[in-house]
């Protein structure tokens, strides 16, 4: 009896098995079109907010590759965000790169530091590895802050690139939309490729992954470098958006922003960074507008969301979609 059921279920799964990890192009197109329309019709202040949301959605998604899938925690991810912006600035001011090359250099500088720091961090596991990411970040911040001749210290670097490349806000917004969309789709491809399956296996259960033949260190290092690279893409965009770079960009506040977005968005879900960035930045803007102690308000809201839905906004969205699906 059970045997019969099993066979029937199997032939059905075999027939109906559609790839759950294929990119949903219709959804992507809908979101991109909607966002493009918003960018074109909104007043500049809203466009600025939208641009910031997109950049942070990419940054948080890159961080999410580590937190949700690779089994690592980074308490210093702003380093890879900020070094993108510094890579852009320094390659132009110190090496006379043309702007286009500077833009390419930004993420590569992040990836390089991801490789160097990553090699150190994967030697340890769990909280020890996390503390080492923090230590690497502190060292980087100190160097960036104090090496005045090169980095300009706390007055940063500006004027190396025209703010928003000299484009109108909505035009620059469309550029950011393209870059961020492509980058997030690439992250999707990473997570749901053979490499991503390996990363997720190591992240979920290093002992089992090892028994299957995967070495933890090399796999986690690859994930770390990829995450650093895409954080660097976000940071480079941020540097162009503001036309400057400050030590804050590699500082602890940007790190915390990223972590909060992922947790708010919902760990173990690909969309965590996107949902988290949207809601966090929305809260941030609204609360700052209406409340004196806005950071407290944002903090309380995050605590409530995480308690009500430990799987974050992604979990809420999933449940709502399932419920609607059942009604239809």
């Amino acid at each position: 009896m059970a045997q019969g059921d099993g066979t029937r279920a199997d032939s059905e799964t075999a027939l109906q098995r559609r790839d759950p990890y294929a990119i949903n192009w219709r959804l992507v197109a809908a979101v991109v079109v909607l966002q493009a329309v918003l960018l074109v019709v909104s007043p500049p202040l809203v466009v600025f907010a939208l641009i910031e949301v997109m950049i942070f959605a990419l940054y948080a998604s890159a961080l999410n590759l580590l937190l949700s899938f690779s089994g690592m925690v980074s308490f210093g991810h702003a380093v890879y965000f900020g070094l993108g912006a510094y890579g852009l600035a320094l390659s132009i001011t110190h090496f006379d790169f043309p702007i286009v090359l500077g833009i390419i250099a930004g993420p590569l500088v992040s990836a390089f530091f991801g490789l160097v720091y990553g090699i150190l961090c994967v030697q340890l596991t769990a909280i020890y590895a996390a503390m080492l990411t923090l230590a690497c970040a502190e060292v980087t911040y100190a160097v960036v802050f104090q090496w005045f001749d090169v980095t300009g210290g706390d007055s940063g670097i500006s004027g190396h690139v025209p703010t928003m490349l000299g484009l109108a806000p909505h035009q620059f917004g469309l550029v950011v939309l393209c870059v961020v969309t492509v980058a997030i789709l690439m992250l999707w491809r990473v997570v749901y490729s053979p490499l991503g399956l390996t990363i997720r296996a190591v992240g979920q259960n290093p002992a089992r992954a090892a028994a299957l033949g995967h070495g933890r260190k090399s796999v986690q290092l690859i994930a770390f470098v990829i995450s650093a690279f895409f954080s660097g893409v976000a940071g480079t965009l941020f540097g162009i958006f503001h036309g400057n770079v400050f030590p804050d960009y590699v500082g602890v506040l940007f790190t915390v922003d990223g972590l909060l977005m992922v947790v708010l968005g919902g760990l173990y879900s690909f969309g965590a960074g996107i949902y988290g960035a949207i809601v966090y930045k929305l809260l941030d803007n609204l609360a700052a507008h209406y409340f004196q102690y806005w950071q407290l308000v944002v903090g309380v809201i995050i605590v409530i969301v995480v308690i009500v839905s430990p799987s974050g906004i992604a979990g809420l969205v999933r449940r709502v979609v399932e419920r609607i699906g059942r009604r239809l």
Binding site: G6, D19, S193, L195, R200, A207, A209, A211
Partner: protein
């Protein structure tokens, strides 16, 4: 039994010693398992059975002694390197990827040995689908393919873990209490499956087991461990007739 004079034993362990602090977990253990042999390891809790499996799979480095897999001496290899030598293991507490589906767990196992684990081409995963489904059928979990492992029964998880190890095409299977915590029927079904696959593929099987019925049904030879050492070794009938073994272990079973 099929091992000729020329072929190396699948596993050869000599003088293995391991201490945790001052506690001696393995005390000069010698063990030789021939190719194609089915060997049970029994012994009371704390005898050092899991520690022995951990040393054989590279999880723990012994203080002294040598381990040879198919004539190759292990030198502080990491677990994933030992796995690549053809040694597959399961854990006393089943070790799977709990947030993934049963299907994806099996896919992971195939991916690991595909030679393309670093590929970015999602299409490569799709080409493995048929093999994955066939493997799930072999371990009779095809009906649960789309269930998340967290939601399946303990017994099914043990079964899945065994299936994943099989998918990596090991030559030597090390199963640490493969039927622990299972019901009587489930237990015999799983061990029948293990035996069928082992014989069909000519694998070498070393398994730790507490259920004496299962041990005597499956094993061609038995190693009895106690206090970190090998206490007795022999064919099932020899072990059954050994009064010292009965005293320390089989006694309770009458």
């Amino acid at each position: 039994m099929t091992a000729g004079a020329i072929s190396q034993p699948a596993l050869r362990v000599r003088g293995l010693h391991k201490q945790f602090g001052r506690f001696v977990a393995l005390d000069s253990v010698d063990l030789t398992v021939d190719e194609g042999e089915i060997r049970a390891i029994i012994g009371p809790n704390g005898a050092g059975k899991t520690t022995l499996i951990n040393v054989l799979s590279g999880q723990i480095v012994a203080d002294r002694g040598s381990v040879e897999v198919a004539g190759r001496r292990l030198r502080r290899q990491h677990p994933h390197q030992v796995a690549k030598l053809g040694v597959g293991r399961t854990y006393q507490i089943s070790s799977t990827l709990r947030r993934m589906t049963v299907f994806d767990n099996m896919l992971c196992a195939h991916n690991a040995v595909s030679g393309h684990w670093f590929s970015l081409r999602a299409g490569r995963l799709r080409t493995m689908e048929d093999t994955v489904l066939a493997d799930l059928k072999t371990i009779e979990l095809d009906g649960l393919a789309d269930r998340v492992v967290d939601d399946i029964s303990h017994g099914d998880r043990k079964r899945l873990e065994f299936g994943m190890v099989l998918a990596t095409r090991p030559k030597v299977l090390l199963l640490d209490e493969p039927t622990a915590g299972m019901g009587l029927r489930e237990r015999h079904e799983l061990i029948d499956l293990v035996l069928a696959v082992t014989r069909e593929r000519g694998l070498t099987l070393v398994f730790v087991e507490h259920d004496i019925d299962v041990v005597f049904k499956a094993a061609e030879s038995i190693t009895v461990m106690a206090l970190g050492g090998v206490f007795a070794e022999g064919r099932p009938d020899e072990i059954a007739a050994n009064s010292a073994v009965q005293d320390i272990y089989l006694g309770g079973n009458g």
